[in-house]
Structures are given as C-alpha cells and as structure tokens.
Symmetry: C2
Subunit: 368 residues, 2 copies
C-alpha cells in the first residue's frame, strides 16, 4: 500500500538479495523509517522488540529469518550448517512465544529444507519458501478484500449517493500483514471500486493501534475519523455506522471470535442497533481444534504499564508520560471473546460465511 | 473525604470568612494544591478554567462566588451595590454555559437576597445561602450513599466472605460534589460498614477521569484497579463484576440516562451478562420536563484535541503529548444516553427506584 504516494510492503527482500527491509513500526505514526535487517539475529530482535507486529507479518518475517540464517551459514565454515540452522530457528521461535504464524512459518521452512541436499540448494529453497509465504499472504488478503468489498458494494447499492460508514477496532491493516491487510483489504478494495467510504477508527486503548489504522487509511486516500473506544455505542445509536468490521487473532470452530479487548462491546452495540457486525478472517486464524471460544480461548494479561503510561510526541521527540498517580493498580487484558451469536458473518479468502457454515467453508484451507 | 489521612471538602470557606478555598483539580492526581479564591472574579476563573468540576460542586462554587461579590461590594463605595452584584452574577453564570446547577445556585441566591435590605444584611444572607447550598449537597450525597450501600450489603449477605466487585465509569466522586460524591458515597458508606469491596475503575477516555476516581478511592482506603474502557465486557463475561454503578449528568422522565460517553456500552454488557446496572442520581440531575432521553438529550461535541493529545507526567513535570500523526481527524462526543430498559435501578437520596417509579419517587424533590 501507499506511503506518501509510494508503494510499500511491510517486509521485502532488498535488491542485493542478501538483506531484508521492513518498516520500523515503533516509529509510526510519527516517522517512517525503513530498517535493514542484515542477519537472522537482527530478525530475532525485530520480531521480539516489535519493530514489526501482526500475526501474518510475523510469519513472513520468520520465513525471511530462516533464509538469512541459511545465507550466513552457507558463507561460514563447512561444518555445522544443520546445527547452526536449528539454533537460529529455535531463537526465532522464542522471539514471540504466542505467535501461531511464527511457528507455522518455521515448520514450513523446515519441511522444505529437508528436500534440499547441498548448502547452496538450501539457500535457494529457503529464499523461495520465504518469498512464497509472503506472496501467499498477499494473495489471501487480496481475495478476502474482494469478498468483503462485495458486501460494501451491496450496502452502497441500497443507499445510492450516501457515504458508507464502517467502524473498526485495532489495526487489522496492511501493517499487520505483508500487504493489503484484512479489514483494510476490504476497505481499500471498496475504495478502488469508487464506493463513497468513511471509516470510524477506534483508538484501541491501551496501545492505540488506531493511530496506525488512521495513518495508513489517510496515506491510501480513505476518509477516516479517530474516536475514543467509548464512542461506538453513541455512533451506532444515531445511525452513523453502516457496518462494523474487525479482525481476529483466533476464531473457534463455533465462530466465537478472540480479538483485541473491547471488540465484544462493539458487537453488543451493533446487535442492539441492528448494525451488521463482520469479522475479517484469513483462514490461518481459524482454529477448528477449538470447539468454542468464550471461556476457552486463553486471554493474555499484559503489563499494567501499558495502561498507566502512554507514548506520544511532545513536539520535539517521542515521549512517554504517566497518566496516573504513583502506586495506582491497573489490569491489562489484551483480548476478549465475542460470542458467535453477535457475529453477522465472517469474511474469508474463500467467501463470506455465517457461523454455521464457517468450518465447512474453510475445510482444508487452514494452514495451521 | 480523606487526602493522606486528613479530611477535606472540595470547597470551603476559609477561617478568615473572607476567602474560599478549593482543591485545584487541574493538578490531580499528580499534586494536591489548595487554591485560595480571594474574590468573585477569581471564582469565575476557577469555574471557567476547570480548577473545579462536577455539577454539584459548580453549584456550590457559584453560591460562594455570590457571597464573595457581596463582601467586595459592601466594602466599596455606597453606590452601585445592586448593579455590581448583577454584573458579578452574570459573569458567574457565563463561566460554564451548560452547567444547570450553576444557574440554579445563582437563582437561589438572587431570591434570598431579595429579602435582605442593607448591604450588611445581604452579606450575611449570601453567606448563609452559600453554606446552605454546600451543606444540602453533602446531606443529599450522604443519604444517597446509605440507600446504595444497602444494595451492596444485600449482595454481600448473599455472598458471605467474598469480595464485592463494583465497576464504575468516569468520576462521580467527592471531587465532583462538596463531599462524599454520588457513586463514591455508596462505596464509602459500604466500606464504612466493613463490606469487602473492590472497584474496577474505567479510565474514561478522553479526559481520563478514572485517574481522579482511582486517586480518591485509594486515599480513602478502597481497593481499586484501573482498566481501559475496553475491558468491562471481558470482566463481566468472566464473573468479575457484581454491580455496575455510574453517575448521570441528566436523566429523563422515562429513566433514560445521559452520562459520560461509553456508559451505554457498559450497560449493554451488564444486560448481556446479567450484572445489575445502577445509576447514582441525586434528584437535582433528574429532569422531569424531558419525556425521554435517547435521541432527545443534546450531546455535547467537544474539541478533537482532547482525543488527539493526552496530559500526563513525564517524571519531572506535567506534559502534553500528541498520540496521532499530524492532520489526523478526530471526533469527541462527550456523553451518550443509556436507554432505561438497560437500567436495573436509580439510587437517589429518597431511596432506590426502578424506571417506572422514578418520577413518582422524586416528585417535589427536584430543585431545578
């Protein structure tokens, strides 16, 4: 997608073929900095310290991390390639302990590398796999976007001449994938079709991922307005939202949706005001092994400092400020689970399904 | 209530009888500063620039502002007392244009002063009225607190030995009144009765009034934990909330409740999870002239900067930081309206009523 009119992916192999480049997301939305990752150890740091984030993007980063490891090991002494590679993969694996896509990408590289004999061949195979992981993610997001845009086209057709208002929570944007995003793939495709669109962007406390969503929508020409997470109920009560569209970190077999904390409150409000509530779900986040989500999907509790402090820009530089008196206790639940009964439908790369047809619709697609 | 073990009201006549003292709420929760108001013009500034806030407290401040004006005018030349007083009252009136309690306090002073002949008598009457306004607010809050604490005592009796978890939104605390508060009057009274209590404090974006609520609860020995506004649904879904208790800025005859933005989302979640949802409502905030609230009570839209920037403490001083890229659009709806169908009951100084009995229960009590 576009930054200041130039197309970028969130990760790509540099022209030299020897290094990987990423957008350092820690600097956004205040600065755009391209970081060059010069070896697998730098990739571990980039994943661990959240220079990049988002499940699909972390998977792609892990894929390229294995390629960088193969490159370095092939250039080294003739002994120890396999041992060295396993060590690198173990460190990549540990960089974000709960990231499902990271594990999946490493397994895929491991399986592919088993078929390669020489070190030179392994370098070639690892690069092919890393590229394939990234390209497949781009293709899945684009296809998901087309199915979702059909929904918005339908709403637009029923409301000729009126702006369609979409509300979203968190960042299910191209910054969380290799390109397009999931929620934003739908929005960008609808925008390409010329639909009159406006997006309400929940700021998404405590980490304010809404700042990323607003930033990328603006750079791609989509009208958007940031609101506090508290505002969605009022907006829906007053007919200012046509459709809610959110991402998901993990969706259970019955359609219960784990997503960023606060999603459930928006789903309740959508139901109360008869606003359609959709989930953008690449099949990689569907977990058919989990029968249901509410009370079953474990909810990560993160550091209270994410609530008590906030990162911003003071006019000269990035600055952290404390919002509460010293000694204030805070709890920081990162996700919640929205029951399937509140979800109108699931937008996937295979089409749009309701909860009763989701598992069937995605049969065989889940790469996990 | 207590600050560091010492009892304070939020406003009081100084020992000299010639000046008024307040807690400068702009410095909280990072510093406690007592401000001495030395004349009615300083009171206008204190109200206008939000050195103090909260509808009942603004009413009390206006009452004392009139007393300070009488004092100053009585000490001046013999001509122009009445004209000067009307001028002062007009400026006090304009300090916060939408504050109902401010207007009410000025009218009350005006009516009382009509019965006084000499300037000396007017000074005495204005002081008596100002004290009476403050004392009545304290009494209303205390009585409301007792009725609400009976509710919590009932929950405690049904759950022996278990901590009772209350969730609240915004600051309906003693800092918004002269003493006790409304929501917090209930909590402080329950705490005095020895009930095992814990309060979930919504941070309440965009102005983070949760920082005030947490600060005052901590100073008064009530266990509390700050959470993002997004967290309440998850907490209720997991049985971590026994009762939601919020304040109100204005409640319509049918029981629809205007309160800080985000209240409606918590009411929806309470309904979905069978958690009782109560509103602490001093009769002064009940508006029997308004038949219903949803779609009828006007919702103030405030400056977008309240969303885009945040005030905090950077370790050395207060600091404002920007959270979003330059040029980001934001909307800032200050209140929302919770439909009466989601409200279990209204805790007033006359007892606890459901929506069907609220107007009858408060007949004749409304001072507005």
């Amino acid at each position: 997608m576009l930054i200041d009119g130039t197309h970028y992916r969130s990760i790509w192999l540099a022209e030299d073929g020897q290094t990987v480049q990423i957008i350092d997301q820690r600097k956004l939305p205040f600065a755009v900095e391209i970081e060059t990752i010069r070896g697998w150890k730098e990739m571990v740091i980039a994943i661990r310290d959240m220079h990049l984030r988002g499940a699909p993007l972390i998977g792609a980063a892990a894929g390229y991390g294995v390629y960088l490891a193969c490159l370095e090991l092939a250039a080294g002494s003739h002994d120890g390639f396999d041992v060295g590679l396993e060590g690198a993969m173990a460190e990549l694996d540990a960089a974000r302990p709960t990231a499902v896509n990271l594990r999946w990408a490493l397994e895929r590289q491991r399986a592919a590398l088993r078929g390669a004999d020489s070190r030179e061949e392994k370098v070639v195979v690892a690069r092919e796999q890393a590229d394939a992981i990234a390209e497949e993610d781009v293709a899945v997001c684009a296809e998901l976007g087309r199915h979702g845009a059909d929904l918005l086209s339908g709403i637009a057709a029923r409301n000729p001449g009126r702006t369609i208002n979409v509300l979203t929570h968190c960042n299910a944007g191209w910054l969380a994938t290799v390109d397009h995003g999931t929620v934003t793939a739908v929005i960008y495709e609808a925008s390409r079709r010329g639909l009159p669109l406006h997006v309400w962007v929940d700021e998404t406390r405590p980490r304010n991922q809404g700042a990323l969503t607003s930033w990328e929508l603006t750079h791609n020409g989509v009208a958007n307005t940031v609101v506090c997470d508290n505002a969605g109920g009022h907006l829906m009560q007053h007919g200012k939202v046509d459709l809610v569209l959110v991402g998901t970190d993990r969706t259970a077999r019955n359609g219960d949706v784990a997503n960023k904390i606060g999603t459930y409150l928006k789903a309740l409000s959508a139901m109360d005001n008869e606003v359609p509530f959709y989930v953008a779900l690449p099949s990689s986040t569907f977990d058919p092994s989990m029968e249901r989500g509410v009370g079953a999907i474990p909810i990560e509790e993160r550091n209270a400092d994410e609530v008590l402090e906030v990162r911003g820009y003071d006019g000269e530089r990035e600055s952290r400020v404390r919002l509460y008196a010293d000694g204030t206790a805070a709890a920081n639940y990162a996700f919640d689970v929205t029951p399937a009964r509140l979800v109108t439908g699931y937008v996937t790369e295979r089409g749009v399904f309701d909860a009763h047809h989701l598992a069937e619709g995605l049969r065989g697609a889940n790469r996990g």
